[in-house]
Symmetry: C2
Subunit: 337 residues, 2 copies
């Protein structure tokens, strides 16, 4: 990472499983000063195998670092953040990679970290686990949500945005934490519940073996994420409980409408409802975006900058680049049409 | 297709879209005497491009044929069957490829065809359409359901079973038509409704653009079949209305249970319910089968043979081979453990 206005960044990655390991691997490959740490004793040997810098002591790993990526299981993140904030230097910018953002953002606010903890969510993964499965290119073109909590968090957000775009080629999506959680409830969490319902119904069916024998592609796709370790899925759902339950009302209402039109033999209405879903699917495969450039005065446009960023991400757009000089910050972005 | 007890079979394929075209292509490649026909004027040129035998007249195509594969849209199959049965030779065995079986089986019974029409359902496909997209290997290792309606249909069933195994390498799954329809309601049709509900909910969401921007793999997989042409999905659901609506009660009950344990913060129960679905997914990926061989006296074991076949397929097994001599029919099969 090179930046005209700051010296070379010193970075730490705390938790070097699949996600943290992939971040560590890419940051190291790209020539950054980066150091990994993990509570698992096996991580040192894995780090040696992948030839990435690693230290056995958390305090040594964090000392003098400018940026920390906080990784590891969702459930452990609040306690990890408390510990890392205690050990890290005062000016250090911290971000995390958890799949929900309101809970950790609230925890950070209670710790007085809202200005330098920027909740994050890089949205890619595999079914595998551990540093041995890490992939340096995991976040190429992936959405990477960042949630600055207020204008005080903008300096940390700007620094992370450049670091992430330059090193990972990811799409930085700025969002308010609760807006993020409402969106991923539908775009990630509820699909896990529907897959669980379909797989669970098949498990309880009197004709289970025949269902397995005649499983079509639709069934295989529709149950795939039911194969995710159940405790990981449960933690994700539990940490986003309110948003998931609220969005489920919408999904179940649409499901009820489809079922009613089928059961009532209202075939024209059934077709119309199916066409709505097909239209969404076509939009997913062919999103239409517009390039946007916006500049803000660093001395007095903080609120306008934060509003622009949250609106951009909340509407489905993302930041493609960011430049800062002595007086001005300039974003290039792709916004939905 | 070679058979010790019959001369070389003459085969016709009526309807040469993706499915019929793939059947025609493979039967031709394998050296059979086969001829295709299609009501679409463009089909002749497509047949020339794919170098498969084709005739413009249905009556000429059917004359002197031993076996007819009746393909084409599900909705058109009953009328097609009536027409083909009228034009084909008296002893000709007819099968179809529709995705539901009770409706067409009942129609055939009303036409007095129950002994020589064997409802069929080869279970593979692609999102594409037309003979130009046909693939000779489409049914390699795929389940191919055949539904003999009574012992009178066994001679036709035996002939089709050998033809399908020898030419397509498919897994012949014998089932009662209504049992088939109940199973595919869960293994194929309901996944389309769930995909439609998820896609429809996203389409109606206030944060639709952000949902598209943050669509995880779970969302992409969970909505994939919502991209199927809606009229094709609607026809499939409508032709299996009763079974789909009945099985949906089970799926919705499992969904309600998952939602309730999440909403009520009964996290142990949520985990337990997710584990049921995960277990099903593991069974799907690692099915345990046992080889079975069974022989039946052609003069007096018809009912035992039909019972064996329906139980085999209804329990998730399939026929891997069939031999017939002057007195005995012998099946090899894989049965669920």
């Amino acid at each position: 990472m090179a930046d005209e206005t700051t010296p070379r960044l010193r970075i730490a990655v705390v938790g070097t499983g699949l996600i943290g390991g992939s971040i560590l691997l890419r940051l190291h490959e790209a020539g950054n000063d980066v150091l990994g740490w993990d509570p698992q004793p096996a991580a040192r040997a894995a780090a040696a195998r992948r030839r990435v810098p690693f230290n056995d002591r958390l305090d040594v790993t964090l000392k003098g670092r400018d940026v920390v990526f906080l990784c590891g299981p969702l459930r452990a993140l609040p306690e990890s953040l408390t510990e890392v904030a205690r050990l890290a230097d005062d000016g250090c910018v911290i971000t995390d990679v958890g799949s929900t953002k309101a809970e950790i953002a609230d925890h950070a606010a209670r710790l007085g970290l809202a200005d330098r903890f920027i909740p994050g969510h890089p949205m890619a993964g595999t079914e595998k686990a551990g540093l041995d499965s890490a992939i340096g290119s995991l976040y190429d073109s992936a959405p990477w949500v960042l949630c600055p909590s207020s204008t005080d968090a903008l300096p940390g957000f700007r620094l992370l945005t450049r670091l992430i775009i330059e090193n990972f080629g990811a799409r930085v999506v700025p969002m308010e934490p609760r807006a993020h959680d409402a969106v991923v409830a539908l775009s990630s969490h509820i699909p896990h519940i529907l897959a669980g319902a379909l797989a669970g119904a098949a498990a309880g069916s009197a004709v289970k073996q025949a269902v397995l024998a005649l499983a079509a592609g639709s069934f295989k796709d529709g149950t795939r994420v039911a194969g995710t370790p159940s405790s990981r899925t449960a933690d994700m759902l539990i940490s986003n409980r309110a948003a998931v339950v609220a969005q489920l009302d919408l999904v179940r209402a649409v499901l009820d409408g489809l079922v009613a039109s089928l059961a009532d033999a209202d075939d024209a209405e059934l077709l119309r409802r199916l066409q709505v879903g097909r239209g969404l699917r076509e939009e997913l495969l062919d999103r239409s975006m517009l390039p946007v450039t916006r500049s803000f005065d660093l001395a007095r446009d903080d609120q306008a900058e934060l509003d622009f960023l949250r609106r951009l991400g909340g509407d489905g757009g993302y930041v493609t680049g960011q430049e800062t000089d002595a007086t001005t910050v300039t974003y290039t972005a792709l916004a939905t049409r």
